[in-house]
Every structure is written in structure tokens, then in C-alpha cells.
Amino acid sequence: MISKSVNIFYKFMFILSFLRVIKASVQDVGRNIWLSIATITILVLALFSINLLLVVKIISSETIQAVKEKIDVSLYLKSDSAETEIVNLQSKINALSQVKQVNYISKAEALETFRIEHKNDPEILEALIELGKNPLSPSLIVKPKDTNKYDELIESLVKVEDDIIESKNFDDHKAMITKINLIAEKASQAGLFISALFVIIMLLVVYNSIRVAIYTHKREIGIMKLVGASNWFIRAPYLVSSLVYTFIGVLITIALFYPFLGLLQPYLASFFSDYGFNLISFYNSNFFMIFGLEFLAAAFINVLASLIAVGKYSKV
């Protein structure tokens, strides 16, 4: 019975001490306001650059996906090709291991698509009427099974010989993908470098802020030690301060990053018009994962910096 009461008393004392630690931490952030502002600014810059890096990653992967979906090879056929010949050629190509799908576009379908694509271009439409006949050729649209094996598909298609084939259009989509990959990679590398730089700066700034905070409280810490305060009670406020910095930093980053996404979204919307890709929706649906992880990572770095600073400078 007595030991239970003692346990409750110690738990109560711990909670009370913890609340006092929180109070001391918030006071500390407020009393060193300029130092706090500088620390939080660096934190926000680091988090902002990390989010920019994430945006670059998302956009590049969406772009690559979009380009991959557009990759196909067109085989233009002679206008007078017989239906059976076309079907034979279609099954011949379909049998190739690199082919996912072969679509036949008839002359009429090609004309219809052409008209839709140029509906705002009256000169072209008039020229079509003046011609008096359908000038377009039927075609076979070949979709690759694997975009990474695009070269092999081209190689196989080159070997396909048939009298009805008028011409082959092998646009160099692979070069385009490689180029996008390269740009994305370079952007990621630059982003990673900037983020790493900010993370290192963040570590140093938080370390310095805690060091200065300890220095300004040197007298108070000395007295605390003298009257029997535990090391935990002396050190915890500085660790909690670093968590307060992180929390405020993440909140400010969120407050700044959403308007930034709002500015970016119209450009992305026009670029990804056929895909319904929305960066804000992406951030909304992954909000807790993105900012939660960023908070945890930043908190880890800051608490680490604080632990080093507190361990080194709180020995009064």
C-alpha cells in the first residue's frame, strides 16, 4: 500500500517536472528570440529545399510515365492495301515478343482523328475539302511491351518486310526518356547537395543555438546543480527547445510550401493535361507521411545536435 502511494507520488513528481521542463523550454525559445528566429529560418530553408527535391522527383517520374505511355511505333500502309493483307501483317507483328498491342487505324479513322486534331485550323480543313479525297494512309500503331527494350522492338520491326508497308516512323522516344532521366538525375543531385548542405548548416546552427542558450543560462544552471536538480531536469529543456524549433520550423514550411505548390500547379496542370496529375492533391493525400517524416528526421538531427551541445557545455 505504502509502496503504491510512493510510486504514485514519484509519477506525480515526474509529470510535474516534465511540465516544468516544457515551460522552461518555451521560455527559453522566447527569451532568445533572435537566436530562435535564426535557427528556425535555417530549419525552414532546409525543409523547403528537401520538399523542392521531392517535387522534382515526383514531376520527373510523372513525366517519364507520361512519355512511356505515349511511346509507340507507326507503320504506314499503302492506301490500296487489302483488308486481309493488313490483318495478316497485324497478326505477324503481334506475334513479336517485344509487342504489347497492335492497333489498326483505317484511312477513315485517320481522317477523323486528323480533323479533330486540326479543328481550330480552318486552312488545313479547307485544303482537305479541296483535295476531294482522303489523302491519309491506313496505319498500324505498335505499342511496346517494355519501353526499356525499345531498341529490340525497332530491330524486329525493321526486319518485317511486306509490300503493303509504305513507310515506318521510328521516333526516337528512347533518347527522350534518357534525356528526361538525365535531367531528373541532375536536378536530384543538385537538390540532394543543397539539402545536405542545409542539413549540415541546420545541425551547426541548432548546436550553436543550444550552446549560446546554455551559456546565457550558465548562472542558472550552476544554481540548479547546487540545489540538487537532476541532470535530466537541467538538460531536458534544451532538448525540448530543439523539438520546439523543429515543430515551428515544420509548421512554417507547410505554411510556405502550400502557396508555392499553388503557384506551380497551373503550369503542371497544362503540362499534364491528359493525366489529371495534381501536386497539391498528392501532398494532401501524403501530408502526414511527408511532413511527419520530415519532422521526425529534423527532430532526430536537432536532438542529436542538442545532445552534443548539452553534453559539452552544461558542465557548470
Binding site: 516544468r20 548562472r219 546543480k225 540545489v227 540538487g228 536538480a229 537541467i234
Partner: protein, 226 residues
């Protein structure tokens, strides 16, 4: 209450602060440790509150061997020993009551206990009317009394006073010594470290003289003889 057995302390590179000191202070005693500056008196205080570690020998405080005291145990030791320094060590942004309450707050004491203990100790030191003033609004003697009040909040069995009158005039110094005597009458062991000849001679209590890090004299009803 306090036992030192062959205690030695060296400061790098070759300063001998204490050399094979043997000392036994019984519970309830009022002991003055005297000696000129730099003889090792403050080192002795630092060893007793765990601020420094011995290089040789053994220290026992209240039956507790603190010779190799672990870092987490030091706060527990300090809650059992009240310490008063020459330079007061008060926080200027806190009122006198807050300064005293601070000692309880940092040890996780509940508000109810703080509210009852602080006025009690402020009354003992005669400052119950000035509890809400700030340190800079009172005299040096009064500041030292606040420090004594703060040292008393944990009801220590030992009170170490390291040159408590060093910054005070003779009237204030006498008042502080009277207060220490009053605390001693309540049963607290008082160790007064000083080089004030008049005070030691007036007290007529046990006097231990330190010279060059060694105890050179120990008189039960002693005088300052250096």
C-alpha cells in the same frame, strides 16, 4: 556525520590542494574551518558536495561513502547538504520567494509543498515581509539570508557555508553568524569556512585550521591562531 580519511586532492600540473586530510565532524556540531586563501578550504567544500573527486582517501557523509560518487547520485547528495557561498548565487530575475522556491521546483516538488515550505524558511531567516522583492532591492546581508533560506528548503542535515560573510560588513556578518547558530540549534551540522578572525574568535566553537592543504590544528573550543 562527515568523515575524511587520508583525503588528498591534486590539481594539474602540480598543485597540492589537500594532502592526507583526516577529519571527523559529528552530527549537530558547529565547526569553523579556517585558513588563509588558497590553503584548500574551498576544495574541501567542493569534495563534500561532489563537485570535485578525490585523488586519494575516502569521504563519508551521513554514512554514505561519496568517494567515487556516480554523476546521477550527486543531486541526491546535494539535496542533503545545504550550501551557502560568498557570492550569493541568486537569480536576479526572480523574487526572493521564487529564488527559494526554485530549489524545490527543480527537484520536482509539488506546488502545495513549495507554497508551505517557502514562507516557513523565509520566516526562519527573518525575511517573510520581503518575499516578493528582487535580490537587487535588498542588502547584501539580506541576500545571504535568502541563500541560507534556499539551502534550508530540503531540510539538510549539513549546512556548508563557504565564506558566507566575505562580502558583508561586520553588522551583517554578525547577523548571518547568528542565523547559522540558530540553524545549528535546530540540530543541523554547520560547517563554516572562513578567514574572518573576529567571527571565529567570538563563536568559541570547534576550529580546524588548514595550511598548505593539511590540517594543522583542531581545537574543540578554538581560536583563529594563524
Amino acid at each position: 556525520m562527515i568523515k575524511l580519511h587520508n583525503v588528498s586532492k591534486l590539481y594539474e600540473p602540480d598543485t597540492r590542494a589537500l594532502h592526507e586530510v583526516n577529519l571527523h565532524i559529528k552530527p549537530g556540531e558547529f565547526v569553523s574551518i579556517v585558513g588563509q586563501s588558497g590553503t584548500g578550504k574551498t576544495t574541501l567544500v567542493k569534495l563534500l558536495i561532489g563537485e570535485e573527486k578525490v585523488d586519494g582517501g575516502k569521504i563519508v557523509v551521513g554514512g554514505w561513502d561519496i568517494t567515487n560518487i556516480a554523476q546521477p547520485e550527486i543531486p541526491i547528495l546535494r539535496r542533503q547538504i545545504g550550501v551557502v557561498f560568498q557570492d550569493f548565487k541568486l537569480l536576479n530575475r526572480k523574487t526572493l520567494a521564487e529564488n527559494v522556491a526554485f530549489a524545490l521546483q527543480v527537484c520536482g516538488q509539488p506546488i502545495k509543498k513549495i507554497d508551505s515550505v517557502v514562507p516557513q524558511v523565509m520566516k526562519i531567516v527573518g525575511l517573510e515581509d520581503k518575499m516578493h522583492r528582487y535580490p537587487q532591492q535588498i542588502s547584501g546581508g539580506e541576500q545571504q539570508r535568502v541563500v541560507i533560506a534556499r539551502a534550508l528548503v530540503h531540510r539538510p542535515r549539513i549546512l556548508l557555508a563557504d565564506e558566507p560573510t566575505g562580502n558583508l560588513d561586520s553588522i551583517n556578518a554578525d547577523e548571518i553568524i547568528e542565523l547559522l547558530q540558530k540553524i545549528n540549534k535546530f540540530g543541523t551540522t554547520v560547517v563554516l569556512v572562513t578567514h574572518n578572525r573576529d567571527i571565529v574568535n567570538k563563536l568559541r566553537r570547534r576550529v580546524i585550521t588548514v595550511e598548505d592543504g593539511m590540517l594543522v590544528n583542531d581545537q574543540q573550543v578554538g581560536k583563529y591562531f594563524l
